[in-house]
Symmetry: C2
Subunit: 429 residues, 2 copies
């Protein structure tokens, strides 16, 4: 295929579609020079053209028929900005069938159906790129696929959800409870009215699954990822953590093991002097540990019309270069086989544990004895304040197997003197 | 050209050449999968094979003749790891003339002769890649050339020299003077015996010049970059800065202007809550401000055998992909015209000024009057401690034009009551 101009079709003129439109149309000369030829948006599909938008899409570019767009011979690259996993999937399949390269920032779709779609793209010798699906503007997908190919990556630690990072930042700075910080995030438009996809870690799990597949070269089944949300984090946990030299972040973690990988999303204690500890508000970051590379971190806005639009437009330029140079499909998916995810009971980490106990002599000894009986080795303990007849104890363990810790906590919970285990948070990074 | 295997030749088996050799030979299967075919080191040139090395390069790969290597028909990609700007330049020119793609981490060569070499590469339709030349493993070159092409970049702030960052980190943490921290860096092998290239900012200037050219799409003349080193930074400056909410870093800065760009390397105050403030020890980072992208930061090891080797090997895999796909020269240099660098007298920034004065009534008023006479607006002032009959005053100005500040400081220096202006440091980021 030799073309004089690369035509771009955008399906879905919502926040991300309009952001990509703006990025592609604002600096056309710079993009043309970088792509090796003109790159023009030639069609935009949406089912609702009455809606108000921040960008003015000319009437002659508009269509209501996404599949007319994917068939349009003037379209060489299709941007899927529909969202979800139904229509979006059909749009991408149709585009690939018609020989178009595809760019999508749709993390759920790539996490769930990436394997099938990437296979189809490889067979059709077109590109399927998805930089915007993880970390918004952060160039982590391209960095893993291209820049860091010659190092063995052992671990990825991601702050991959802006909503939860904003909430935890507010809770840390203002000492407000979770519910108040969430309400504030909703008022600012950083959190959905139904915030569960963010709060419960689904969004971050999709993203870390995508990165794990690239970093480890294995396909990953998203439902095997372990998830815990942030709603149980209390201001007291944040305060104790700070006194111990940590901040609390919702961390998405992928680690290479001998036969299994770890894949999990949960609140975690991070040392205050770790670069991830300084990632605040709606910012995202990915911290990469590689054998040859050493530590690498990439930081930026994980969401938003223009940051995600920048990532999408960058992918479009890459597809355009391949079309001009006759090299579509130049960087295909190279995953082989399926990753086996280690059960959460088998992972190891130091843990922070906060519990409410009766304020009596001998309590600490009784609890410590049960930790010891289950081989849970303790690093430190703090008993602070008293709450009527109760007291609060915070334990930090050495590195311990999750199953051993759970067994110990089960036995400890049954003690008369223990009111309840309030929280248990793994320490990472 | 259709090849079954991409042959790699390494010229210079020193620290970087051996690092690249190790990265390319340690995970050949992963690299083959990612490159789309086998990538093998087929020849290594060095003039001294008696020297001890950390890697064992098989005798059958060795040669003493760099130009036999660049002519070798089995070599498709040449890694220039000689260093300097003489032999290295000849090696690259020879490689390009013989139709080889070239990878180099040589910042001085790219900063000084990049234009000529990139022109030659474009004419020959081969790749000339140089990710390792800036920030070691940090994928900043590829990110600027590929991921962030669809955003207008307004500013780059880089911590691009590990030696000076290590020294400033030690000075901050241990409150030791510059000379002691430098001696320690030399003892650890982080600083050369003649440390001037690092300490005086030449190294960082080469790197920011390379990034500015890519980000702004204009060729940059390295000798126009303004440079100030770190040897004048005293523990007192670091202490005052911290009290004011800043750290001091050697910052490499490039800013887009209407007709001119700013290009400068000097110590700078950075707010403690800025992500660059957490970049410590030998780590490097580049902070990018883009209109559409928002802020993006990339962080990692800026030097060392394996981190730089990772970057070099990543470039080799990119060249190999292009060779397998018949698309060498796919991402050429796209600079047009020359950048005009704004004279340092015309830049604007807030400034920190520390001065020694005679401890008498009326001194502060006299100095403040002269600042005012030159339109230098003051944000804060601290007078602390007395040194015999002298006192120390620290001023922080609002944003001020450099020429106005210099005029004010000239007049202030002439006051009887002013012993000397000890230091003047711009605040950035």
């Amino acid at each position: 295929m030799s073309v004089g101009q690369v035509g771009v079709g955008i399906v879905g003129a919502g926040i991300v579609g309009c952001g990509a439109y703006r990025c592609l149309t604002t600096n056309p000369h710079a993009i043309e020079r970088r792509a090796g030829g003109p790159v023009r948006v030639v069609q935009v599909a949406d089912i609702d053209w009455a809606r108000e938008r921040e960008v003015d899409i000319p009437a002659e570019l508009r269509t209501e028929d996404a599949f007319a767009l994917t068939r349009n011979p003037e379209v060489h690259v299709v941007i899927e900005a529909v969202g979800g996993t139904t229509v979006a999937r059909d749009v991408i399949r149709s585009a690939i069938e018609h020989g178009k390269s595809v760019v999508t920032p749709n993390k759920e779709l790539i996490a769930r159906h990436g394997a099938e779609l990437l296979d189809a793209a490889r067979e059709a010798e077109v590109d399927l790129e998805f930089e915007g699906s993880v970390g918004g503007v952060i160039p982590i997908v391209r960095s893993l696929k291209e820049s860091l190919v010659a190092t063995q990556i052992n671990a990825l630690y991601g702050i991959l959800n802006g909503t939860t990072n904003y909430i935890l930042t507010r809770m840390s700075r203002e000492e407000v409870p979770f519910e108040e910080a969430l309400a504030e995030a909703q008022a600012k438009g950083y959190a959905e009215q139904d915030p569960s996809a963010d709060i419960e870690g689904h969004d971050a799990a999709n993203k870390i699954a995508i990165l794990a597949a690239i970093a480890f070269g294995r396909r990953v089944t998203i439902d095997e990822a372990y998830r815990e949300g942030i709603s149980k984090i209390a201001p007291a946990d944040i305060r104790y953590a700070r006194d111990l030299g940590y901040v609390i972040k919702l961390l998405a973690i992928a680690k290479r093991g001998d036969n299994q990988i770890e894949l999990r999303v949960h609140p975690a204690l991070i040392r205050l002097d770790h670069p991830l500890a300084a990632v605040n508000d709606v910012y995202n970051a990915v911290f990469v540990e590689g054998v040859e590379s050493g530590n690498v971190m990439l930081y930026g806005r994980g969401a938003g019309s223009l940051p995600t639009g920048t990532a999408v437009a960058g992918d479009v330029v890459d597809c355009a270069r391949n079309i001009f140079r006759g090299s579509p499909g130049r960087v295909p998916c190279t995953c082989q086989g399926e990753a086996v995810v280690r059960p959460i009971e088998e992972i190891e980490a130091p843990n922070y544990i906060r519990m409410r106990v009766k304020d009596r002599p001998g309590v600490m000894g009784a609890i410590a004895t049960l930790f010891g009986a289950e081989q849970v080795s303790l690093e430190s303990v703090v008993q602070e304040g008293s709450f009527g007849e109760e007291a609060e104890i915070v334990w930090v363990t050495h590195r311990v197997k999750e199953s051993a810790l759970r067994a110990a906590l089960r036995r400890i919970s049954e003690l008369d003197v223990v009111v309840r285990v309030e929280n248990c948070i793994r320490a990472e990074a």
